[in-house]
């Protein structure tokens, strides 16, 4: 078990190193990184000074080591716009994005799990067909357009909900729904397909042979087994969601890291943009690792084999 964990940690480390490398190389895309990292109104002497300080006249691999070293020590550069170190700025907003992402995910599960289970039980009937078509429709709607439509209906026309910002719990509703609906569609199909696989297994027949009521067979015997792969996929979805909130945050002016990044990029505040990318990647890798370990812990077969 420990060797497996160590192996995964090593993998994660390699992945992160490569991510840092790519982000590093991105800096050179526009030609001169010094220009990127300094505010647009910096004077020529300031830029030269900065260039020497950061060692941009050094060979590339040398710069990379320095860059990686700084990152490892927590120095992610300085936002010229806010006149503060970039890292705390980003970390401050991270929970706000997480709030949106997790709400959307939970909402999608609340819808998807019952629908998926019912579809599986009533497989190939009208209910199943209808539910799956609805799921597909949910997956086909672009989240940010849904957001606009919801604003149109619930804010502009009906005035029930606010259009943007984050000043209270009701501000979370529309963004979470916009983000969560497509997820709900995908998860409903996932739940259905996992349940169908499990319902075909022999031990379900055994459970029925023992005279257990059907609802217990489904909710106890089938569901727990189906949840294993579902948890894995949903965990990964959370990871992807973090990157995917960007457009929704823009539409609703939700003050998370996505919005921060978009503003940073268009405002040429590159250190902040860079930091958001790096932190998002770290969080993604950590989530993946957690999901792996969680699965190992949940499935008695695997934890036994590794003992």
């Amino acid at each position: 078990m420990t060797s497996y964990i160590l192996g995964r940690l090593a993998q994660a480390f390699i992945v992160m190193t490569m991510v840092v490398l790519i982000v590093f190389l991105l800096m050179f895309m526009s030609g001169d990184p010094a220009l990127l990292l300094m505010p647009p109104d910096a004077s020529r002497e300031d830029i030269e000074e900065f260039r020497r300080q950061m060692g941009f006249d050094q060979p590339l691999w040398h710069q990379f080591i320095q860059f990686a070293g700084r990152i490892a020590l927590g120095d992610f550069g300085r936002s010229w716009r806010f006149q503060e170190p970039a890292l705390p700025l980003v970390l401050e907003r991270l929970p706000i994005t997480m709030e949106l992402a997790i709400s959307a995910l939970l909402l999608s599960l609340v819808i998807a799990i019952p629908i998926g289970i019912i579809s599986a039980i009533k497989r190939d009937t009208k209910v199943d067909g209808f539910a799956m078509v609805a799921a597909m429709l949910g997956q086909s709607v672009p989240g940010f357009w849904l957001g606009l439509m919801l604003i149109l209906i619930f804010s502009v026309q009906l005035g029930w909900l606010p259009t943007s910002g984050r000043q209270g719990p009701q501000y979370l509703i529309l963004p979470a729904v916009s983000l969560g609906l497509a997820l709900a569609g995908r998860n409903a199909r996932l739940v259905r397909s996992c349940m169908l696989e499990v319902l075909n297994e022999d031990y379900i027949r055994t459970a029925r042979a023992k005279g257990l009521r059907e609802w217990r067979v489904i909710n106890k015997h089938a569901l727990k087994n189906a949840l294993l792969p579902i948890v894995t996929v949903v965990g990964l979805e959370l990871g992807f969601l973090l990157g995917g909130t960007v457009v929704i945050e823009t539409v609703f002016s939700w003050p998370g890291v996505g919005l921060l990044a978009v503003q940073a990029i268009s405002g040429r505040d590159y250190p902040v943009a860079q930091t958001v990318i790096l932190i998002s990647s770290v969080v993604f890798v950590l989530i993946n690792l957690t999901v792996d370990l969680l699965y190992m812990w949940l499935d008695p077969r695997i934890s036994y084999a590794r003992r």
Partner: protein, 327 residues
């Protein structure tokens, strides 16, 4: 009155169809037999002959595409085919129990065996967790699983095949059922374990006085443990008799082929002698005898006339035109 009191299971004219792509297969095609109280009844046949389907039909555990289209299954006088879903749930695991062929896949991998055995007790006997635990430990002991205390919290994958089958037996006998259906209980196990498992079943059965429907392709097994044996072919029972009678005086050509025309003393050591060709899957209308294409004793009209069940000797039934066309 007296006679029916004695009958645990009476299957009459059972027909079960299974939907496949482009039609239906007649998995069980007119099966009738009787199991008396405390009797061990064997159901023999090759794979595909409909033995398991018969068992599933009795327990109402047919797969999605399967359905009983005709016939009755009377358990102690009560027809299981027409019973309500609640009634069937109440009977299953309590009065009628089943153990399955593959103990590896038949146990839920994410629950402990203590939990899985205790479920029937909690469901049918209303026991609480601690009562169920006590009884479960007793059951584990009685099926020969030592160290019951620790084993209670173990998961199925921590057991060997033989042990898992013991767990299945414990689960099935938890509520002392009147009828135990054993579908190929030892096919997936080692020969050495096989004997142990069957001995165990015998012993427990004697303790609680249950009737057993033992299903297997292994005639030797049936010879050793059963009171009566029925031989199935292509969804129908072709011969039924008391064990001694069947082995010493087999009537149906298929039975004879299975026994390899050997004297009885050889049978207890040997396994099934394979018959050439393959059993048919019956779709559409049946014409003539299903075994005719492979039958060494085949006559001219065997292809067109379907044989009915006859009883040339009391207690010995056979479905073959060699013995006449009408009962």
């Amino acid at each position: 009155m007296n006679m029916t009191d004695n009958i645990t299971l009476e299957v009459e004219d059972l027909y079960t169809h299974i939907g496949v792509q482009g039609g239906e297969v007649r998995g069980v095609d007119g099966v009738s037999f009787v199991i008396r109280r405390g009797e061990v009844f064997g159901l023999a046949g090759e794979s595909g002959s409909g033995k398991s389907m018969t068992a599933f039909s009795i327990m109402r555990l047919l797969p999605l595409r399967g359905r009983v289209v005709q016939g009755s299954v009377r358990f102690k006088g009560e027809d299981l085919v027409t019973a309500s879903a609640e009634r069937i749930s109440a009977l299953r695991g309590d009065r009628v129990a089943m153990i399955f062929q593959d103990p590896m896949t038949s146990l839920n991998p994410v629950f402990t065996i203590g939990d899985q055995i205790g479920e029937s007790l909690r469901q049918h006997r209303g026991m609480n967790a601690s009562e169920a635990r006590v009884k479960t430990m007793q059951l584990l002991e009685s099926v020969g699983i030592g160290d019951a205390d620790r084993r209670f919290g173990s998961y199925p994958h921590e057991f060997s095949g033989g042990m898992r089958q013991r767990v299945m037996i414990a689960m099935a006998l938890a509520c002392s059922p009147d009828l135990l259906i054993a579908d190929e209980p030892t096919t997936a196990l080692d020969v050495t374990i096989e004997k142990q498992i069957l001995a165990l079943i015998e012993e427990l059965r004697a303790d609680i006085g249950a009737a057993i429907l033992l299903i297997t392709h292994n005639l030797a097994l049936l010879a050793e443990h059963c009171d009566r044996i029925a031989v199935m072919y292509a969804g129908q029972i072709v011969e039924t008799a008391a064990t001694e009678e069947l082995l010493s005086k087999p009537l149906h050509p298929y039975t004879k082929a299975l026994l390899g025309s050997m004297p009885r003393s050889h049978i207890s050591k040997g396994r099934l002698k394979p018959v050439t060709g393959l059993p048919p899957t019956i779709t559409g209308e049946r014409r003539g005898c299903a075994f005719a294409p492979r039958c060494p004793a085949r006559m001219a009209h065997c292809d067109s006339v379907g044989p009915l069940i006859l009883e040339p000797e009391p207690g010995h039934q056979v479905r073959c035109l060699l013995f006449g066309e009408r009962p």
